[in-house]
């Protein structure tokens, strides 16, 4: 069993504002109700759930982008729950994120070269621009983008290329942990296959721990070792993919798996489980 890298215990997140001068305090909606999750060193963990399940909030709380109301996040042995921005900065290199929308997460006014070089210099991974540029060339080769991509802007690239830039930007810092939030949901299947394949290879080569948030269980099965199933802010099931997919313990997991349309003809599929769904949503 891999050593734990990131361990969250009892995470509670509630959004909303406390009462102000002109506002009455409203009951803030609780998005996470005490979530435990752990990601081992070099382990790939899928976080699956439907909209509103809290999977994105969980990811953001792990990275400290959302402050939990209760609970703790421990990264590589040290508690990072209450760290302020200043104290968190050295950790940022080690905990990276790949975003859902590469179009809105890459600054349209910066060249790809600038987007990749700046964090390298900021974190002191290269002594000068020339050395940083060499790192950028290396990572572009690795993610399968031509080196002259450095002179282009994000809007000149295709969706798949932009997502490769997103991956390059995260892994060039040699992080220990990467959070990927729905990074292939907008891509065509053939592009999705390439991006997922790349990510799978990189996590293996770099011994990178990955939390992979997705609504798509087939995608999770294809690249993750373990899966965490979320529903309405709680973990309903977790375990190795092999076991969860073969014999889910929770009826909700079973329903999620059964709802995936496989590209095979199965005349009974449409009507199967109709009663269970009605019962589950009632």
């Amino acid at each position: 069993m891999a050593k734990d890298l990131l361990v969250a215990r009892g995470l509670v997140v509630a959004y909303g504002r406390p009462a102000g001068q002109y506002t009455r305090r409203r009951a803030s909606p609780v998005v996470l109700h005490g979530v435990d999750i752990c990601v081992g060193k070099g382990e790939t963990v899928g976080i699956v759930g439907e909209s509103g399940s809290g999977k994105t909030t969980l990811g953001r709380a792990l990275l400290g982008l959302v402050r939990p109301t209760a609970g703790s996040v421990v990264f590589d042995g040290s508690d990072i729950t209450a760290l302020d921005e200043q104290a968190r900065r050295p950790l940022r290199r080690r905990m990276q994120m790949i975003f859902q929308e590469p179009m809105s997460s890459l600054n349209p006014r910066h060249t790809i070269g600038r987007i990749l070089i700046e964090p390298i210099l900021l974190h002191g991974l290269a002594s000068d621009r020339a050395a940083a540029r060499a790192l950028v060339h290396g990572v572009l080769d690795r993610v399968g983008l031509p080196r002259d991509t450095v002179n282009r802007y994000s809007f000149e690239l295709s969706g798949g290329q932009r997502q490769r830039v997103g991956i390059a930007r995260a892994v060039v810092l040699r992080p220990d942990f990467v959070l990927a939030d729905e990074i292939v949901s907008g891509l065509d299947v053939s592009t999705q296959a390439q991006v997922l394949r790349l990510l799978k290879q990189l996590t293996g080569e770099m011994h990178l721990a990955l939390a992979f948030i997705s609504h798509d269980l087939s995608v999770i099965r294809s690249i993750c070792q373990r899966v965490v199933v979320m529903r309405e802010g709680r973990v309903v099931e977790e375990g190795p993919c092999e076991r969860v997919f073969a014999a889910p313990l929770s009826a909700y997991t079973r329903m999620l798996i059964d709802a995936i349309p496989l590209p095979t003809v199965d005349p009974g599929w449409l009507t199967r489980g109709a009663a269970a769904e009605v019962a589950a949503t009632a």
Binding site: R197, P261, P263, T271
Partner: protein, 296 residues
């Protein structure tokens, strides 16, 4: 074929904005009476252009350069806007992709649903409202009165899509164009919506053109399918046959790229370079042959 409800024949289109680039290359497909026909392809394949051409809402930068769209013995492409308006809604209805933008946010569901029933079916306001109530019942909305009195933003995505399906099928059209109707929905909701479309279609004998990028959804709901790539038909046939034994390398590549939870060691196959090269060559050869003057 006499059973064809909709017959798209050799439909060609170019993009005026993009150097007259072809976007549809002599596409032919027939949707039979009472059939759900899948139109599958990746982005840019031209599936939406075909749907829009049928509905007469081709954007200004796209020009139809040839072919016809046969429906009830007429060519939809030759109809005047007035004639087309008489067909749309009444005989051909649309279930749009994004249920959140397809409904006017300033109008309540009852107003949105009764419009079509009054204008296309000639019902009185009172009868239209009763009918709308019954239609929402039919799409398994538990509290139709509450939904009728709601604004779109007060409903979930799945509920909105049910309302749109009820509105489309409620006009008892002969053909429903479903343009990626489940892409914005969660899987469990998607399954319910697919089930609903199939059930309504069977009950009313409606023909459905089901536009999708998802071979999985198509496999579960379509009788036959057409696979499109760069505006050209790659493969056509009964869903069971195409999926069990795809003949075109592109169809095989699409299936191989699809991750499957039941086969974790397959899927995620990148399209082999020789397949991409062969596809490009096929498209280029087609363009050359269709540009050649008839007698030269």
């Amino acid at each position: 074929m006499s059973g064809s409800r909709l017959a798209v024949e050799a439909l060609s289109a170019i993009s005026l904005r993009d150097g007259n680039r072809p976007i549809l290359r002599r596409v032919s497909l027939a949707v039979d009476t009472g059939e759900v026909h899948g139109l599958v392809g990746e982005s840019g394949a031209g599936k939406s252009t075909i749907a829009r051409a049928i509905l007469g809402i081709i954007p200004s930068q796209v020009k139809i350069t040839g072919g016809r769209i046969g429906f009830e013995g007429r060519d939809l492409l030759t109809l005047s806007p007035k004639e087309l308006r008489a067909v749309l809604g009444r005989d051909i209805a649309l279930v749009p992709q994004d249920p959140s933008t397809a409904l006017n946010p300033a109008r309540r569901i009852d107003a949105l649903m009764t419009d079509g029933l009054r204008l296309k079916r000639g019902l009185s306001m009172k009868d239209a409202r009763l009918r709308a109530h019954a239609l929402l019942d039919e799409v398994q909305i538990r509290d139709p009165e509450r939904v009728l009195g709601s604004y779109p933003h007060q409903l979930s995505g799945g509920m909105r899509q049910r309302v749109l399906i009820a509105a489309a099928f409620g006009l008892e059209p002969k053909l429903v164009i479903a343009d990626e109707p489940t892409t914005a929905l969660d899987v469990t909701v998607q399954k319910q919506i697919l089930r609903l479309i199939r059930a309504l279609q069977e009950r009313h004998g409606t023909s459905v053109l089901f536009v999708s990028h998802d071979l999985g959804a198509v496999a579960k709901i379509c009788d036959r399918l057409t696979v499109l790539y760069m505006g050209k038909v790659m493969e056509q046939g009964a869903t069971a046959e195409v999926l069990a034994a795809p003949r075109h390398p592109y169809t095989r590549a699409l299936l191989a790229a699809n991750p499957r939870y039941d086969r974790p060691d397959t899927g995620l196959e990148p399209t082999p370079p020789e397949v991409i090269a062969a596809l490009r060559a096929e498209i280029a050869a087609f363009d050359v042959s269709s540009e050649a003057p008839p007698d030269g």
